[in-house]
Structure formats: structure tokens, C-alpha cells
């Protein structure tokens, strides 16, 4: 267990260190000028209009919820795929039933127009 996890922990540490170092480099070494107008958000050279804290369309939220539903269903397929040969026909039939249930949900979502983008 330790032998498989230790390299990953080391890699996380090294990656974090590099990320920190790179940012520090540019903060220390980068040129500094008077910022002034430079600190305004970029808007193609005109004065920025409006805020960015407006409500976001509900569609994005819907996609996120659907993603969680379907991705969890996909995750259920992984253990089955690993031992599919041991489970044999029984496992296959069970999985077909599971996928049919998944598809019922999928077509319901499609029918409700949750995935319509226009």
C-alpha cells in the first residue's frame, strides 16, 4: 500500500512546489510598471460595462445535475467490466437491465428538452 501511494504523494508535493516556484519567479523577476488603467478587466479597449456577478442561465446547472446522474451510472459499469468474465451471462443480463433503466431516464430527459441548446 505504502509503496504505491508514496510516489503519488511525492509527485503531488513536487508539482505543488513547482507551481509555487513558477509564480514566485514571475512575481520576483517580472518587470514592474505603474499599473493604472492596466488593472481594469480587459474589454477590447473600451470602458468595462456591467458586472460579472449576474445570475447564470439555469441550463448550466441542469447540465451539471445530469452529469452527476449519468457519471455515477457510468461508474457502476467499471466494477462489472473488471469481473464480467467471472459473472458471465448473469452479470451481462443484469447489466442490460441496468442500461435499459438508464436509457429510460435518458429518453425522459431528452423528451423534457433538458438538453436543448438554442
Amino acid at each position: 500500500m505504502f509503496e504505491t501511494l508514496f510516489p503519488i504523494i511525492v509527485l503531488v508535493t513536487v508539482a505543488t512546489l513547482i507551481a509555487g516556484l513558477l509564480v514566485t519567479f514571475s512575481i520576483v523577476l517580472g518587470r514592474r510598471t505603474k499599473l493604472g488603467k492596466k488593472t481594469e478587466p480587459y474589454e477590447c479597449g473600451v470602458e468595462p460595462v456591467g458586472t460579472t456577478k449576474d445570475p447564470v442561465p439555469i441550463k448550466f446547472y441542469l447540465v451539471a445535475v445530469l452529469f452527476i446522474l449519468f457519471d455515477i451510472e457510468v461508474i457502476f459499469l467499471y466494477p462489472w467490466a473488471v469481473i464480467s468474465r467471472q459473472l458471465g451471462i448473469f452479470g451481462f443480463v443484469e447489466m442490460v437491465i441496468f442500461v435499459i433503466i438508464l436509457l429510460v431516464g435518458y429518453f425522459y430527459v431528452l423528451g423534457q428538452g433538458a438538453l436543448k441548446w438554442d
Binding site: 509503496e3 504505491t4 501511494l5 508514496f6 510516489p7 503519488i8 511525492v10 509527485l11 503531488v12 513536487v14 508539482a15 505543488t16 513547482i18 507551481a19 509555487g20 513558477l22 509564480v23 519567479f25 514571475s26 523577476l29 517580472g30 518587470r31 514592474r32 510598471t33 499599473l35 492596466k38 488593472t39 481594469e40 478587466p41 480587459y42 474589454e43 456591467g50 460579472t52 441550463k59 448550466f60 447540465v63 451539471a64 452529469f67 449519468f70 457519471d71 457510468v74 461508474i75 459499469l77 467499471y78 467490466a81 473488471v82 469481473i83 464480467s84 468474465r85 458471465g88 451471462i89 451481462f92 447489466m95 442490460v96 442500461v99 438508464l102 436509457l103 435518458y106 438538453l115 441548446w117
Partner: protein, 327 residues
């Protein structure tokens, strides 16, 4: 014990340096190949054939001014590039680069960690990258960033489903999640899984391109409408961390594709590491080739394609493979 720790440290450093160099030279390769495909010659001034160009770019970016706009959420703004960068490097923890070999009397494995759930680990880690992008888009306080971040999030989570489904066919054939065993069963070109899963491979590469926000699915950073998307407000090294993260993700996708479908480091005559690199470079070339060939999709086309075409096809591929394995 101490030996194991030291070997691990050296291996991690070698892998990190190799991946970062790989990222730098992917940008060179991209510019060179893209240039040739568009009847230009690409970078050619820095060093012979422009080979020092990535170095020049890196140095230039380090010495650039680090601008933090006035209306950003400071903590998330600073964290976002790191969150995009670190998971991208992490996926290389379980990728087998080479066969086991002896060096100075020590037995060295060709991968950092032989995790028994290797593929699941890679998929878990790569999907963390979306946090960096959504936080960058949200905290920048710029409309282009926000739109780019939103688009990226919706796109990445939509294609995540098909991405995860597309490799279940491979696992059904191999019956393992360990990267080492996946390579072991693909010895000899006739045993490559691509011959058994050609359709699965097409699904994998399509979903992977969308996952890594590359053309023709590069809506999040569509420069003709969104300036640069989620990293509009980033400059200097913070910007280049998004960039390195993106290229590291591409390299990870290429490495995983090589391992899953093209026999990993297996190959005749040449050393295994070299075979691995050759296959990954070929993969990267296809990435660039696709970028030079296809125009960008429209956003509704992109979402429709992901949910209404790719997802059902991936499910179909899984079930057909399962039936074929059972018979």
C-alpha cells in the same frame, strides 16, 4: 527503505522534468507542424530549426509583468492556475513509460506507482482540472473569462460521461484496471486492443479532445469571440501554468491512449521508452493535424453532439463489446 525513498524521489523528478520538457516541445511541435500545414515554416530563428523557441518563450514569460486586475477574487484567482496545473501532472503517476530494468544493480519499475486502479485514478485526477478552469473564469471579474469558464465547465462535464464510457470496452476485454497489466496483455502488434476496439478508440479520442478543450472543440478559448476565454485576465507565469496544464493534459491523453489501445511501450528492436515516446508523438501529431483540419463547432452543436450522439454511441459500444466478450 531509504533506497526505495531515494529511487522514488529520483524517478518523480525524472518524470516531472520529462513531462515539462514534453509540454514545452509540444508547443514547438504544434507551431512547426501547424506552420507547415498552412504553408508557412513556423519558428525558425531561435537556435537551429527554431529548436530553442520553447526556452525563449518560457524565459520571456517569466520576465513579464504579473498583473492582478483590481476586481478579482484574490485567493481563488491565485489558486486557479495551480489547480489547473497540478492534476495535469498527477496523471503521469500511474502511466507505464517503460518495462522494468536494472540500473546500477537496482531493480527499477517502469512506472511511478503500480496502482491497481490505475485508469480510475487517471480519470479521477484529470477531471479535477475543471475546478481550475471554473475558478479562473469566475474569479477573474471579466465577462470573457466568465463566459469561457462556464462554457468550459459545461463542455468538460458533458464529455466526461462519454469519455468514461469509451474505455469500458477496453476494460471488458482486459478485465483489469491496472496499467501494468493492460500493457502486459498487448505484447505484439496483433494483440493491440485497437484491433478489438476500433470504434471505442474513435469515441475515446473524440471525447478526449473535447475534455482537453482542443480544436475543433476549443469553444472555451474561442479567440475570435471570447478573446482567450477563462485565462483572459492572467498574465506572466500564471498564464503559462494554464498553458502547461493544457499541454500536460494532452500528453496524458496521448499516453493513456497509447497504453490502452496501442500496446504501451511494447515494440521490437528499440528500447521500450523510445517506443512509448514515438507512439505519444504520433498521437500528438494527430491532435495538431485535427486542429489544422476542422473548423470550430457552434456551442449548441457541441452540446448536442456530446449528449445525443457520443453518449448513446459509447453506451452501444460498451454493450456490443460485452455481448461479444460473453460469446
Amino acid at each position: 527503505m531509504l533506497e526505495m525513498v531515494l529511487i522514488t524521489l529520483i524517478k518523480v523528478l525524472v518524470v516531472v522534468v520529462a513531462v515539462l520538457t514534453g509540454c514545452a516541445y509540444s508547443t514547438y511541435m504544434e507551431r512547426k507542424v501547424l506552420g507547415r500545414l498552412q504553408n508557412r515554416i513556423g519558428p525558425s530563428y531561435a537556435g537551429p530549426f527554431g529548436l530553442l523557441q520553447p526556452l525563449a518563450d518560457g524565459l520571456k514569460l517569466i520576465f513579464k509583468e504579473d498583473i492582478v486586475p483590481s476586481n478579482v477574487e484574490r485567493i481563488t484567482f491565485a489558486l486557479a492556475p495551480m489547480i489547473a496545473f497540478i492534476p495535469a501532472l498527477l496523471s503521469f503517476a500511474v502511466i507505464p513509460f517503460s518495462s522494468d530494468f536494472e540500473l546500477f544493480g537496482y531493480h527499477i519499475t517502469g512506472m511511478l506507482s503500480d496502482l491497481n486502479i490505475g485508469i480510475l485514478f487517471i480519470f479521477a485526477v484529470t477531471s479535477l482540472g475543471v475546478y481550475g478552469i471554473v475558478l479562473a473564469g469566475w474569479s477573474s471579474g471579466s465577462k470573457y473569462s466568465l463566459l469561457g469558464g462556464l462554457r468550459a465547465t459545461a463542455q468538460m462535464i458533458s464529455y466526461e460521461v462519454a469519455y468514461g464510457l469509451s474505455i469500458i470496452g477496453v476494460i471488458l476485454i482486459a478485465n483489469t484496471l491496472s496499467m501494468r497489466e493492460l500493457v502486459a496483455i498487448q505484447e505484439g502488434i496483433t494483440n493491440w486492443i485497437i484491433w478489438k476496439q476500433p470504434f471505442g478508440f474513435l469515441l475515446y479520442i473524440t471525447a478526449a479532445i473535447a475534455e482537453t478543450n482542443r480544436a475543433p472543440f476549443d469553444l472555451p478559448e474561442a479567440e475570435s469571440e471570447l478573446v482567450a476565454g477563462y485565462h483572459t485576465e492572467y498574465s506572466s507565469m500564471r498564464f503559462s501554468m494554464f498553458f502547461i496544464g493544457e499541454y500536460a493534459n494532452m500528453l496524458a491523453v496521448a499516453s493513456v491512449g497509447t497504453t490502452l489501445f496501442f500496446g504501451g511501450w511494447n515494440g521490437p528492436f528499440l528500447p521500450p521508452v523510445l517506443w512509448f515516446v514515438i507512439k505519444v508523438v504520433a498521437f500528438m501529431f494527430c491532435y495538431i493535424w485535427l486542429r489544422a483540419t476542422f473548423p470550430r463547432l457552434r456551442y449548441d452543436q457541441l452540446m448536442n453532439f456530446g449528449w445525443k450522439v457520443l453518449f448513446p454511441l459509447a453506451l452501444l459500444n460498451t454493450m456490443v463489446t460485452a455481448a461479444w466478450v460473453m460469446l
